[in-house]
Symmetry: C2
Subunit: 351 residues, 2 copies
């Protein structure tokens, strides 16, 4: 017959005198206070449960808990209660400051609601995304906010438990989870209108991966509005933007339109200092754009609202409320720098 104990290497808690290398447990406190684990648990739980315990034992237990430096084992609690008070945010590229800001705000907001955030990065790699989508529920997260990659619809439905609170950020997928995003049509129209008023007619287009809905949609709508002299596709990185500019060198477009800010930054990196640079049209803010010696216009999304929207969409699901949740769709605004304004007012179209 197997004897109890001596299964895993036992912690050093027993050795009295020196600081324990691992926190005391309910059992330790129960022993110390001559009570039972249940009592200790109730006292430490606080609230209604604790109210039913006599003041005397309550004090005795709390005192011992403090003295022994008790720290609840959240893993055990999680296993028992099936709640972790942890939400995961799976972004597609944490190196992109745009996601950094989102993450910052989401964390802050969730924190106020008693949740901590586990931030993960798929790095725009579908395999990594799959891996995380599989892993995170196993780790016992209570909810998930995700910026989905390419073909994630099937993937999401296959990998995620159907009852996991879920919010899609930036890239909604009809019929899957709740979502928070910007109105791509409005954004693109805004950008195009602004470019047009500055006299742009012939443009070059730099486009991120077409599988990603935002890039695809933006490119479509832009193409419908302007005469596209040339187009360059690639991953949504600065390098792609840089390559694109080189390719466009001889074309003399009125504007170069990029389907996101990273591409825009890449183009600008490559421009250097030329005589009459084309206008750069982009989505989301380009760093330091107001000081650049290049006309720039961006259709920027409202980051704080996006972040808060995620939490707004997630919380009722976490609370187990079943009513249908409406997608949140936000409006973008146009931001231009001084060079752009000069070009727009001073001289209409080029030449």
């Amino acid at each position: 017959m197997p004897r109890p104990g001596g299964d895993l290497p036992s912690p050093v808690r027993a050795i009295s005198g020196d600081p324990p290398t691992v926190s005391a447990t309910l059992v330790d406190i129960a022993k110390e206070t001559q009570t039972s684990v249940s009592t200790v648990s109730r006292v430490l739980a606080g609230g209604a449960a604790a109210a039913r315990i006599s003041q005397a034992t309550r004090d005795r237990v709390s005192e011992a808990a403090v003295r022994m430096g008790y720290r609840p084992n959240l893993v055990a609690r999680s296993l028992r209660t099936r709640r972790s008070n942890t939400v995961a945010l799976l972004v597609s590229d944490i190196a992109n400051p745009w996601f950094g800001q989102i993450a910052f705000l989401v964390e802050q907001s969730l924190h106020r609601h008693g949740y901590s955030l586990m931030l993960c990065n798929s790095g725009e790699d579908p395999d990594r995304e799959v891996e995380y989508l599989r892993l995170l529920p196993q780790k016992g997260i209570d909810g998930l906010i995700v910026v989905p990659l390419a073909r994630s619809k099937k993937v999401l439905e296959e990998l995620l438990p159907p009852d996991l609170p879920l919010v899609l950020l930036d890239r909604p997928i009809p019929g899957v989870g709740a979502s928070v995003s910007s109105d791509q049509a409005q954004a693109t129209t805004l950008l195009c209108d602004t470019l047009e008023r500055a006299g742009a007619r012939d443009i070059a287009l730099v486009c991120g991966p077409e599988q990603i809905s935002t890039h695809r949609r933006r490119a479509e709508l832009v193409s419908a509005r302007f005469n596209v002299l040339a187009r360059h596709d690639g991953p949504a990185t600065r390098e792609t933007g840089t390559q694109a500019f080189v390719k466009f060198l001889s074309l003399q477009p009125d504007a170069i339109v990029c389907t996101n800010n990273f591409l825009g930054q890449g183009v600008i990196d490559a421009i250097g200092e030329v005589e009459a640079p084309p206008i750069i049209g982009s989505f989301d803010e380009i760093a330091m754009m107001h000081l650049l010696p290049i006309p720039v216009v961006c259709a920027v999304q409202d980051i704080p609202l996006l972040a808060e929207g995620c939490v707004t969409q997630l919380l009722p699901q976490l609370r187990g409320e079943k009513r249908e949740i409406q997608p949140i769709v936000l409006t973008t605004r146009a931001v231009t720098n001084r060079r752009f304004q000069e070009r727009a007012t001073g001289w209409g179209a080029r030449s």
Copy 2:
């Protein structure tokens, strides 16, 4: 006598026919395959344990596991094994792209080593830091990388289990954990030398929180090298930089030195377009600096090496190796933009 079952609301696993809302467990598979949990556990564990199981049952079990869509409950495993294969990275400001890049690389590297990363943000708020330092070990992380705030020495020692694998990033604290950082003296000397060669003599200084070792040290060393006309202190945000520039407006310093990139960006935000802008000297890269119409020099840290250093320092600790770990101290390099180079070569000091 308490009857078994009916304790927590039971999952819908029992209902056959529709997809289970929660993954099957070892017990389910054991039942299904007419074996025991231990056998199933061994088969699914793979490796040495699985080798000791007959091919027949092994196949039967694996087949059932796949068919039933088994997913190990990592929380339970964690509780049992006391390992989570999760490392936390606690940064001071995830909205800062510098940390975003670090996080990106650390995650990538840890991932290769079989760990997933939990990224948390203290937002430069000591209370939040304390909270996370207390919380994370309770959540069962295997190791921690932290960019410590102000007075974290005591805090770190009090809150963290002494045997938790620990790496301090960017801001070493003598005697606490392993560390990865840049040589502040070298960086500052490099920056000052470069500024001096461009003719800077009188400077203004913008400094982040003095409690943070990097800001304090940089400010000290810079002050020793130049004639400091004025100084502005505040949190390491763009706003502080902007305020500083306003304050410096009438002073006409040769250069404005900032103890980090956020402050530098703030100053540049405020500069707008002036006739003869001062040189901006800063630590770490300033976005789009090569295109700015302002002379800029930065002492930049090697982000990939910092990130890889964290992992290098952490892994042996995770493996339980006890040998002393040497701090990693990296060298920075100077980066200047074209305007700076013009000023440095074309004309020495200002008029």
